[in-house]
C-alpha cells in the first residue's frame, strides 16, 4: 500500500468516505457536520458527495440523535455519530452507557448496535473546563464500548475503518490538538485491529505507556531521557483502551522492569489506574519499581494560560517521574 502525508483530520475523513462508499448502510450525523463540514472540518466534503440523507445535520439534541443512531443500528444501519466535544457526551450519557452498551446483552444477543460515536477531546488553548475534558475512563468502566484514541493520522484512518465495521458499539476519540498533525497514511482500504498497541520507540530501561495527544510529551520525554540521561525508554502507544493489548505491555514491562502510564485525563480513577493495577499483577516478580501514573491535575481545567500550563502534562513531568522511578 502506498502512503502519502495526510493530516489526522483528513485521514479520519478518508476512512469514513471509503466506508460510506463501500456500504450504503453507513451514514453520519451530528451538529453542523453537513455543508459546514464540522467545527473541526473532519466531515468536510462528505455532504457534497453523499448528500443530506447520509450526512445529516442535527438539532442540538445529543441524547436524541445518539438514541436515534442506536435505534437505526439495532435494525441494520451502521451509523456514525459526531459529538462535537466529548464534554457533551454527558448530556447523552444515558443513551451511551445505559442503552447502546447494554442492548445486545439484555436482549440475549437478539439485537446488536453497530454504531460508532466519534468525538474529540483535549485541553490546551484555553478551551476551559467544559470543552476540554478527556472522559475515556467513564466509557471504559461500563462494559459496552470498544474505545480507540489514535495518536497518528495513519492510526486514525485504520482504527476508524475498523470501528465502523465492528458489530458492537465503538467510541472513537479524537484529540483537538492533533487535527493538523501530518503522517504518511496508506491509501485505499486500510484497517488496524483494536487491541493491538504500537511500540513507537524500542528501549530497555523503562516502558512509557500512553495514547492520543499525550503521546507527544511522552515521545519528547523519551528523547530527553536519552539525550540528557542516557536512558532508553520504550514508548508504547495503546491505540485502544478497550480492549487493551496486555501482551505487548506485559512483554515490555517484563523487559524493562519499570513503567509509567501517561494520559491527559485526570489521574484519579483514570485509565492509568487500570493499566498500572493490572500490569503490576501480570509482571509481578520482574518489576523493579511500582508503575507510576501521570495525569491531568485533579481539578477542573483552568482557562488562564498560566494555570493551564500547570494543569497539563509537560515532558519534564514525565522525565522527572522516570528518574524517580529509576531512582536516578
Amino acid at each position: 500500500m502506498s502512503a502519502r502525508e495526510l493530516p489526522y483530520r483528513e485521514a479520519i475523513r478518508e476512512a469514513i468516505q471509503i466506508e460510506m462508499q463501500r456500504d450504503p448502510d453507513v451514514f453520519i450525523m451530528g451538529e453542523d457536520i453537513g455543508s459546514y463540514g464540522g467545527i473541526y472540518k473532519v466531515t468536510k466534503g462528505l455532504y457534497e458527495e453523499f448528500g443530506p440523507e447520509r450526512v445529516m445535520d442535527t438539532p442540538i439534541s445529543e441524547a436524541g440523535f445518539v438514541g436515534a443512531a442506536i435505534g437505526a443500528a439495532m435494525v441494520g444501519k451502521r451509523p456514525i455519530v459526531e459529538l462535537m466535544f466529548m464534554d457533551f457526551s454527558l448530556v447523552a450519557a444515558d443513551q451511551i452507557l445505559n442503552q447502546a452498551g447494554k442492548q445486545r446483552f439484555m436482549s440475549g444477543d437478539d439485537f446488536r448496535v453497530p454504531m460508532t460515536i466519534r468525538t474529540q477531546q483535549g485541553a490546551g488553548g484555553g478551551v476551559g473546563a467544559q470543552h476540554g475534558q478527556s472522559l475515556e475512563a467513564l466509557f471504559m468502566h461500563i462494559p459496552g464500548f470498544a474505545i480507540a484514541l489514535p495518536s497518528t493520522a495513519a492510526d486514525a484512518k485504520g482504527l476508524m475503518a475498523t470501528a465502523i465495521r465492528m458489530d458492537d458499539p465503538t467510541m472513537f476519540i479524537e484529540h483537538k490538538t492533533l487535527y493538523a498533525e501530518k503522517d504518511p497514511v496508506p491509501e485505499g482500504e486500510y484497517l488496524i485491529p483494536f487491541g493491538k498497541a504500537a511500540i513507537r520507540t524500542e528501549g530497555s530501561d523503562i516502558t512509557l505507556i500512553s495514547y492520543s495527544a499525550s503521546m507527544l510529551p511522552t515521545l519528547k520525554a523519551a528523547e530527553l531521557l536519552k539525550t540528557n540521561h542516557g536512558i532508553n525508554a520504550e514508548v508504547i502507544d495503546l491505540r485502544t483502551i478497550v480492549p487493551v493489548d496486555w501482551a505487548t505491555l506485559t512483554a515490555s514491562v517484563m523487559k524493562t522492569g519499570h513503567g509509567i502510564v501517561i494520559h491527559e485525563a485526570h489521574r484519579r480513577g483514570g485509565v492509568g489506574a487500570e493499566i498500572a493495577a493490572e500490569l503490576t499483577q501480570r509482571t509481578w516478580g520482574t518489576l523493579a519499581a511500582p508503575i507510576a501514573r501521570i495525569g491531568g491535575l485533579d481539578i477542573p481545567i483552568p482557562f488562564s494560560p498560566s494555570l493551564e500550563a500547570v494543569w497539563h502534562i509537560q515532558p519534564e513531568d514525565i522525565v522527572n517521574t522516570a528518574l524517580r522511578t529509576l531512582k536516578k
Binding site: I70, A72, M74, M106, S107, D110, F111, P143
Partner: protein
C-alpha cells in the same frame, strides 16, 4: 376504522390473553417464583391491542418496562414471556433481560426499556431506517404520562417532527407516574397539547376503547407512511393494579378505581360481541381457550431450565472479559 366482528373477537381474545398473563405474572411474583419487580398493565389492555390493530405486519413497537401487553400483541408467545419473567434460558431474552426488557428482532419488538423515555430516541432511529431505505414500515413507541417530563421525550419529539419520521408517539396516560398524579407533574390539562410545540399533530383518545385506539393509530400510521411524519397520541387509560408489586395504591381513591373499572375494555368488547350476535357460550369458550393456553405456557415455562452459568457470555461483546 370500525372493527369487524372478526377483529373484535381477536381483540377480545388478545386482551384476555394479556390480562390473564399479567394476573399470572402477579401471582408468580407473589409466590416468589421470580424477583426484581415487574410492572403490569392490567386495565390498560385496549391500548396495546387497539394499537396493534391499527397497524400492519412488519410495523415495529418499542414499549416501556410495562411492556408485556405489547410483546404479546406483537405475537411473542406467552411461553417465551413467562420463561423470561422467570429468568429461564427459553425466555424471549434468554433470561438476560427479565420483565422490563422483552423484545424480539424477528417480530419487530424493540426491547422494553427500564429508563423512562429512553426508547423514544431509539424509536426515532428505527423509523429513520425505514425512511432512509424507503420502506413503509412504521414504529410506534410507548410511554407514560410521566415520561413526557423527561428530557429524551423532548429531543425525540423534535427530531421526529423536523425529520418527518414515520413514528407514532403513544402516551399511555394512566394519570400517575408511580405514585405521583400527573396534575402534580405538569401544568397543562391535556398532554396532547405538547405535540404543538413540535409542529406535530396531537390527539387524545379513549384508551378503554380498543376501536377508538385502532382508529387514531391507523390514521397516524397512514400519515406516517405517506411521508407526513409523526403523530402524538394520548390514550386515556388506567392501571387497575399498583405501579409495582407491593404498591398499595393509597395515593388514589377506591372510587376513582371503581369508576375506571366500570368502563373495562374487555367487558365492553364482550358486550359488543354479544350485540354482534355472539352467544355467551361462545365468549365463554374463548375465555376458556385463552386460560387453557396460558396455563400450559406457564407450566412449561416453570418446568424449563435456568441458563447454564457457563453461558454468561451470551450477548457479551468479544472484548468483555468475564473471568474474575
Amino acid at each position: 376504522m370500525s372493527l369487524s366482528t372478526q377483529q373484535l373477537e381477536e381483540a377480545y381474545a388478545e386482551m384476555l390473553r394479556i390480562r390473564g398473563f399479567e394476573e399470572r405474572a402477579q401471582e408468580l411474583y407473589a409466590k416468589l417464583h421470580f424477583k426484581g419487580s415487574t410492572h403490569l398493565g392490567i386495565g390498560q389492555e385496549a391500548v396495546a391491542v387497539g394499537t396493534r390493530l391499527g397497524l400492519q405486519d412488519g410495523d415495529l413497537v418499542a414499549p416501556t418496562y410495562r411492556g408485556h401487553a405489547y410483546a404479546l400483541a406483537w405475537g411473542m408467545t406467552s411461553f417465551s414471556l413467562f420463561a423470561e419473567l422467570l429468568g429461564r434460558e427459553a425466555g424471549s431474552n434468554h433470561g438476560r433481560g427479565g420483565s422490563k426488557h422483552m423484545g424480539s428482532a424477528e417480530l419487530g419488538v424493540i426491547p422494553g426499556n427500564a429508563i423512562v423515555a429512553a426508547n423514544l430516541p431509539i424509536a426515532c432511529g428505527t423509523a429513520l431506517r425505514a425512511k432512509m431505505d424507503g420502506d413503509d414500515e412504521v414504529t410506534v413507541v410507548v410511554f407514560g404520562d410521566g415520561a413526557t417530563n423527561q428530557a429524551a421525550f423532548h429531543e425525540a419529539m423534535n427530531l421526529a417532527a423536523v425529520w418527518d419520521l414515520p413514528v407514532i408517539f403513544l402516551c399511555e396516560n394512566n394519570l400517575y407516574s408511580e405514585m405521583t398524579p400527573i396534575k402534580d407533574a405538569v401544568k397543562v390539562d391535556e398532554l396532547s397539547i405538547r405535540a404543538s410545540a413540535y409542529g406535530m399533530p396531537g390527539v387524545r383518545v379513549d384508551g378503554m376503547s380498543v376501536g377508538a385506539v385502532a382508529d387514531v393509530v391507523s390514521q397516524a400510521a397512514a400519515r406516517a407512511r405517506s411521508g407526513q411524519g409523526p403523530t402524538f397520541i394520548e390514550a386515556m387509560t388506567y392501571r387497575y393494579c399498583g405501579h409495582m408489586p407491593g404498591d398499595l395504591c393509597d395515593y388514589r381513591t377506591r372510587e376513582e378505581e371503581a369508576e375506571w373499572k366500570s368502563r373495562d375494555a374487555i367487558e365492553a368488547c364482550e358486550t359488543l360481541l354479544i350485540a354482534a350476535g355472539k352467544t355467551p357460550a361462545e365468549t365463554a369458550a374463548i375465555r376458556a381457550q385463552v386460560e387453557a393456553d396460558l396455563n400450559t405456557a406457564e407450566a412449561e415455562a416453570l418446568a424449563s431450565p435456568l441458563p447454564d452459568p457457563s453461558t454468561i457470555n451470551r450477548g457479551a461483546a468479544a472484548w468483555m472479559e468475564t473471568s474474575r
